[in-house]
Symmetry: C2
Subunit: 477 residues, 2 copies
């Protein structure tokens, strides 16, 4: 928590920038003595809290929040074969309680299907009980053997929002998948983060799902980051856990399910996509401090200016803004540096001349300076916020677009993924995907649905020439 | 989630009542397939969320929320000898990751001193860094071998609010202890729960603390429930984890610490103390639904009455109340039963005659019926809430008082704890405590500070006749 911690590496050295910003902006302390486990500083925690507040607000429209246990008995966890196979290398096991061995080992949830669905089997009786739409925000665990990275590849995912729904028919579950994708789009729109939505290849879907829709964004280094997934589970789990309902005709049927999740990777994307060489840039809705007031105090009018700043803080707080006066006894430049690092969207400077002229000097985090009349400051600040968010969205979208290259020949893919991702036509075949991956060094990440008119579309496979779909190819985190 | 689940056992059969209300009011499902782990239903979760919302609001005045990992390496966990001894029988150990053994076993935190204090050792450098006041709300784990009980004795405590503070001097840490007790009093005042504050005997303090202040309440069966503790840690942990600061004179000193926690036992107390034979009774601030509107629809005016009810719901929601119209096609009596079970503080009934007379019939959860003019309903509802809360407080305090017997002779203690707790004088000596416990069958729970004028006070020990302090003796959960 040292203020004079020196400059950030430039953002184009993204990996270094990322490592540095985490502690300079007080997001995460990486010095916890277990690999892959990290500590959230209060400032990071407040960003997380606001982002998940938005997510909860959207979910609460037609979901309910619940909470299921962390520990899953091996007997339940081992029931769904495909699911286990997908996770067995990654599960932490509790084998001891006190000084003795447990009779049945307990898994730390890597995800909660096997914790939740035995309860759904008890809860679901009739079609009148459906749909069920529950979610929880919990810590989940993966015994990662790869290189771990704060907020991105973790052993304790501290903030996994997972929703689990139950429906009568496959089609209704499919509608839920679409509804979840729409919800995730809305969530990331609020975070000003642009997305690419695609359908993962069969070999890359969630273990036990019919299919997986993925929500990716592109990080500043051109690699994709998966920041949400939505799974149609069909009746795989309902058959395993015996989740059945009586339909209108009195027949017993297996329920159809979906699940979808977002982890703290949403925070990784938020920090990485908007930040610059000076630090974080936070959308006002997410910023723990939305407005910092810096009194420019010199000489005789010191007390007057400080009181004026505090009065202004009170007024803005009463209107629901998160405001802080920085009254510390350091020079204004050091304060600017401090609050820019932490991503505060708007700085208000108040000096003697501002008071005399009944104005406030407003500087947005992306450098736009204006003089605002004191009397209608609230309205103006709100307008500045809206414009600021719009600029963040536009800037982020432009950066994403810059990283995308449309390709028509397989030979173009390698160059394309040097600077980001390629979108090219792929037939869906495993062999063609392997050839694409071998030749380009990238991964076939997913097919882009026709609904996405900007990126999607039909064509012929860059390998075999058969009928094909626009496909995202790149290097993924 | 069956509506026609039959009547509750009477509350005087408290243990049966408690088990039943948990599922009839949709708080907790106890059928999860591991002993001591439970599932929060959405309604229970919403109560929990509101209660912890109040707690966070109080803490956020001068604390900051952070988040530390669940997993504590054995090497850190084993550092503080006294602390380990207190927990070694109760700790869950992760020993496997994937298919291999871990090099260093990881404890699931039973409490987070050993996770947090290695970080404090890194963060604290100078007296200027102090005080630190952080808290987190997390899941913690105890391998309970005793009989488990939902919300009260758990293997996964899902909602442990733990605060950890660091100070320069022992006296400042003591001030923090007092400030924490005041905060907890305020929290439970908001929940309308009366308290007894005492200082635990030396043998019952937190492992590694100088002393422990306990916050107890009395449950309907007369047993005490510990619903909060505050510990002065002195420099026990700062010496172990090397948390030192440089004071004004440039000398290195060990920091002084406190910690204090509240678990979901606060919810157990909330449900148990206020509920009655018909179900929960929730203070308005905590109730997920504060007002239920029941349209009394009959015959021709059905649609009109329903629209009127929905319009009323909208109006009240706009004013920030949590309101629900129950428009289900079942008889009003069934709706009353349903919402009474779930503890909704206020029911508004709307029939044809209410509409014609521009009034609403309001029935509070404790049975007080009034006719309110439609035009100033918001104000009246707010007043009803305040009066309702006051009645809850008075009723709960009266019940607590009834359970307390002041005793002057050791022979009176056994009778006193048949109906609740005894308060008698005790000198502080171990042998006298043992004699009290053997003869009465109760436990010496703590000495009541002189500051509590109602219950406290000095006198002579009921065993040895030496100078003594008022002491709480009873049976604890």
């Amino acid at each position: 928590m040292d203020e004079e911690s020196g400059a950030l590496p430039p953002k184009e050295k993204f990996s270094e920038w990322y490592n540095d910003i985490l502690w300079k902006a007080e997001i995460i302390d990486v010095r916890y003595p277990v690999k892959g486990l990290y500590v959230w500083y209060p400032h990071g925690f407040a960003i997380r809290k606001n982002a998940y507040g938005v997510l909860r607000e959207l979910l609460d429209r037609d979901h309910q929040e619940a909470l299921f246990p962390l520990l899953i008995p091996a007997t339940e966890f081992m029931k769904e074969a495909e699911h286990i196979k997908g996770f067995e290398e990654e599960v932490y096991w509790v084998t001891k309680g006190g000084t003795g061995e447990l009779d049945i080992p307990l898994a730390l949830r890597p995800t909660s299907e096997t914790a939740i669905y035995p309860m759904y089997a008890l809860w679901v009786r009739s079609h009148a009980d459906l749909p069920i739409r529950l979610y929880q925000v919990v810590n989940t665990f993966r015994y990662e053997t790869k290189h771990t990275r704060p907020l991105i590849r973790l052993r304790e995912i501290t903030s996994f929002k997972e929703a689990h729904t139950v429906h009568t028919t496959w089609e209704k579950a499919e509608e839920q998948v679409e509804s979840a994708v729409t919800l995730y789009k809305e969530f990331y729109e609020r975070l000003c983060i642009p997305l690419i939505i695609s359908r993962r290849p069969a070999w890359d879907k969630f273990p036990g799902a019919d299919y997986t829709i993925a929500v990716d964004t592109i990080m500043p280094d051109g690699k994709t980051l998966q920041i949400g997934t939505v799974h149609h589970l069909g009746d795989h789990f309902s058959r395993t856990f015996n989740i059945t309902y009586e339909d209108e005709k009195g027949e017993q049927k297996f329920a159809q399910q979906t699940c979808y999740g977002i982890s703290e990777r949403c925070i990784a994307a938020l920090l990485s996509i908007h930040g610059d060489d000076h630090g974080l840039i936070l959308p006002p809705e997410i910023a723990p401090v939305q407005v910092v007031i810096v009194p420019i105090v010199m000489g005789k009018r010191r007390d007057e200016i400080l009181s004026y700043a505090i009065a202004l803080e009170t007024t803005l707080k009463e209107k629901g803004l998160r405001v802080k006066v920085d009254g510390r006894d350091i020079r204004p430049g050091a304060k600017y540096y401090y609050w820019e690092m932490r991503g505060v969207p708007l700085r208000l400077e108040i000096g003697p001349r501002d008071i005399d002229a009944r104005v406030v000097t407003a500087v947005s985090r992306d450098g736009i300076k204006r003089t605002l009349p004191r009397d209608r400051l609230i309205e103006d600040v709100r307008l500045l916020f809206t414009a600021f968010e719009e600029r963040l969205r536009t800037r982020a979208q432009a950066s994403l677009d810059q990283h995308i290259t449309r390709v028509t020949l397989i030979d173009q893919i390698q160059d394309a993924i040097e600077k980001g991702v390629a979108i090219g036509q792929w037939c869906g075949g495993l062999e063609c995907a392997q050839q694409i991956e071998q030749q380009s060094g990238g991964s076939v990440l997913g097919t882009i649905s026709g609904a996405d008119e900007t990126l999607g579309g039909k064509g012929t496979c860059v390998v075999c020439g058969s009928s094909a779909t626009a496909t995202l190819i790149g290097r993924a985190y």
